[in-house]
């Protein structure tokens, strides 16, 4: 297991809270889902793209920063492990990286903050809705493989917001 002490990494200086030195805010599902719904309802596909891109850029910068701090985390396997752990420890859910290669990946998520939050607030939807997670996956893998931000596209073929058993994500080169 990798050397990463969560208890130590999540800390605060006065009113500022940080994970590994990067400022964070705690928000609940009401806010996260409200923002998603506002953007989707107001801007349609453009709003979806905005959610995706914001998550992509943030996770890209976050992981670049983290890997710079933890030079000992070198292998792809350990980086993926760290990413999944961070996802879980941030309350975002469970993510299983499977068949991950530089050219693409398949990822499963049996549980997530956004799914739980969406279902609690709005119930089932007809289209896949994990735009945050799609963007997060793209940015994370781009940082892990030292590729430019925007290199991958991530599609969600099954989604628990539609009452599929799991969320399934496919990653390909753009």
């Amino acid at each position: 297991m990798i050397i990463f002490d969560w208890q130590h990494e999540l800390n605060r200086k006065g009113h500022r809270v940080a994970i590994s030195g990067q400022p964070i805010a705690m928000h609940c599902h009401h806010y996260n889902i409200n923002l998603q719904k506002t953007l989707e309802d107001t801007l349609g596909d453009e709003g979806v793209q905005l959610l995706y891109q914001s998550a992509e850029e943030t996770s890209y910068h976050g992981f670049q920063n983290l890997f710079n701090q933890y030079k000992k985390i070198r292998t792809i396997k350990s980086k993926l492990e760290l990413a999944a752990m961070l996802y879980q420890n941030s309350g975002l859910g469970i993510i299983h990286f499977q068949r991950v290669r530089p050219s693409g990946a398949r990822i499963e998520s049996p549980a997530s903050h956004h799914v739980t939050g969406w279902l609690a607030k709005h119930g089932r939807r007809d289209t896949p809705g994990c735009h945050f997670t799609r963007g997060w996956i793209a940015g994370t893998l781009e940082a892990i493989y030292s590729l430019p931000c925007g290199f991958y596209t991530v599609d969600e073929t099954k989604c628990k917001m539609k009452r599929d058993d799991e969320c399934i994500f496919h990653v390909q080169e753009r």
Binding site: R12, G14, M26, H30, N32, Q53, Y87, S90
Partner: protein, 204 residues
């Protein structure tokens, strides 16, 4: 002041390190996420930009609304939670102390250094924030601007008053609304939020 913010901060920091096997953090009656402030700032300010000059006011209103509705549901959950009962309730002497408890939770969540400056029961709430992550994020990416930018805190200030002096839950959301006359994004030394009774209540 009967409210000891450090106790609340401690409870939130400890609680946010506990998660169930699904990677969900249930705390104070809500599901919590720990996300980079960059994410929220990108989302709000890019949304505003995408909406363009012609829909600027609409974008602003939507972001404030999303936050107020969230603040209303969130802090209702929080004040009815087991953690509130255990940690905050013993410190509350008057109805008004609840607002101090809410503000302390917001500080614990990393939203900024909220300070309640004035509270006129049923009428007016003034909250001062020297370091809101929204203003800080705005100034990091943009030039100083002519309008206030802390939409999340603005909505939340309104929600605090809704919960105390609005109609009973869940009918009181938007009974109050807040302005942000001073904002660091405009070059003011700090951000200030003033909530008053809404002149006309939005339909929810």
């Amino acid at each position: 002041m009967a409210i000891d913010g450090t106790k609340i901060v401690h409870a939130v920091m400890e609680g946010s390190k506990i998660r169930e096997s699904k990677g969900i953090i249930p705390l104070f009656g809500v599901y919590l996420s720990l996300l980079s402030v960059e994410y929220y700032n990108n989302l709000s300010f890019d949304f505003e930009e995408k909406m363009g000059k012609t829909r600027e006011a609409e974008a602003e209103a939507l972001l404030i609304e999303a936050a107020q509705e969230c603040g209303y549901a969130t802090f209702q959950g929080i004040r009815n939670s087991w953690e509130w009962e255990q940690i905050v309730s013993p410190m509350i002497e008057t109805k008004e102390d609840q607002i101090l408890g809410f503000a302390a939770v917001a500080v614990a969540f990393g939203w900024g250094d909220l300070e309640v400056k004035e509270l006129v029961p049923g009428e007016k709430l003034v909250i001062k924030v020297g370091d809101s992550y929204e203003a800080r994020g705005y100034l990091k990416n943009y030039e100083r601007t002519h309008s206030s930018k802390c939409y999340m805190l603005r909505g939340v200030t309104g929600a605090f008053m809704d919960l105390l002096y609005g109609e009973d839950y869940p009918d009181g959301c938007f009974d109050f609304s807040a302005e942000e006359p001073f904002c660091r994004a405009k070059g003011d030394p700090c951000c200030e939020f003033i909530a008053r009774k809404s002149s006309c209540k939005k339909n929810t």
